[in-house]
């Protein structure tokens, strides 16, 4: 049951999560938007000496009981939405800014606000329509320079004329 819950914890991992760094001294190099699955053991966990069963099982290559195979993972904290690793000399503002950015990318606060009260079908449709409009206006704003109809008509003929001049089909006046 413990193993099942541990496996459920892995599968329930939602959104982006940064992979744990190989050494604790360089967490700032870990990409925030990495979608790699976290390793089962994020860090070395020392088991309490009273639970000698678990300690011996974790050291032995083949556990006696299959459910004890993941005894180390029992101290795993469980699923999370986002995670950032904090550097030793990282200033407070940088930590907060990075965490806020990770949370915003995962969309946690907006999701919380949405789920706070019940949304009727009409409200859901209205929200989706507004989100679609916002997305369309944003993409239109960004791609306006490339696909502007007015700029396009003027630019195209000029390019074609340049190509014709460079052609070497007619030489010595022969057609």
């Amino acid at each position: 049951m413990a193993a099942a819950s541990a496996m459920a914890a892995f599968s329930a991992m939602a959104c982006s999560s940064s992979a744990p760094p190989p050494s604790s001294s360089s967490p700032s190099q870990v990409p925030l938007s990495s979608t790699s699955t976290p390793s089962p053991l994020p860090r070395q966990v020392r088991l309490p000496s009273s639970n000698s069963n678990y300690a011996s099982l974790s050291a032995s290559p083949c556990p006696q009981d299959p459910s004890m195979q993941f005894a180390n993972v029992m101290w795993f904290k469980g699923p999370y939405n986002t995670q950032i690793f904090v550097g030793e000399t990282e200033p407070a503002d940088s930590v907060v800014k990075r965490f806020k950015r990770a949370v915003m990318q995962a969309g946690i606060i907006s999701e919380c606000r949405r789920r706070r009260f019940f949304e009727t079908r009409q409200e859901v449709a209205k929200r989706k329509k507004q989100a679609a409009q916002r997305r369309r206006s944003k993409s239109r704003y960004f791609s306006r320079g490339a696909n502007d109809p007015k700029k396009g008509l003027k630019a195209k003929p000029a390019v074609e004329e340049d190509d014709d001049d460079d052609d070497n089909w007619e030489y010595d006046g022969m057609a």
Binding site: Y80, F85, V86, A92, R115, F118, E119
Partner: protein, 130 residues
């Protein structure tokens, strides 16, 4: 009948834990900071309400900062050196509490957001008509 005058009171002594977890529950109305050990057993807790704020003043970032500072000071007294931060909830005290923890000088290993998200589970309460 046992004479209870000489009864030894089992007093919970101060547990010295070097590595722990700080859970910050930032709800809309309050911010609760709980310091636990790695296994999750609570060592101490502090909240905006416990710091003397009441009502709407509890749900301010400043109150969260005060609660975080109080909790951190007490945990450093107990020998806490490294912490992991678990953030819960969408409240106003999220960032200021984290900033206060970072500024206190305690080593933070990672900061996680563990806000529980349903996979479309229970139906939430109806919309408020204010």
């Amino acid at each position: 009948m046992l004479n209870n005058s000489n009864k030894i009171r089992s007093r919970k002594g101060k547990r010295n834990v070097q590595k722990g977890v700080i859970h910050i529950q930032a709800s809309f109305n309050n911010t609760i900071i709980t310091v636990t050990d790695v296994r999750g057993q609570v060592i101490l807790w502090c909240s905006a309400g416990a710091c003397g704020f009441k009502g709407t003043r509890k749900s301010t970032p400043f109150a969260a900062q005060a609660a975080a500072e109080t909790a951190i000071r007490a945990s450093i007294d107990r020998g806490m050196k490294q912490v992991e931060v678990m953030m819960n909830g969408p409240g106003p005290g999220r960032d200021t509490a984290l900033r206060a923890i970072r500024r206190s000088g305690i080593v933070i290993i990672f900061v996680r957001d563990v806000t529980p998200m349903p996979y479309n589970g229970c139906r939430p309460p109806r919309k408020r008509r204010v």
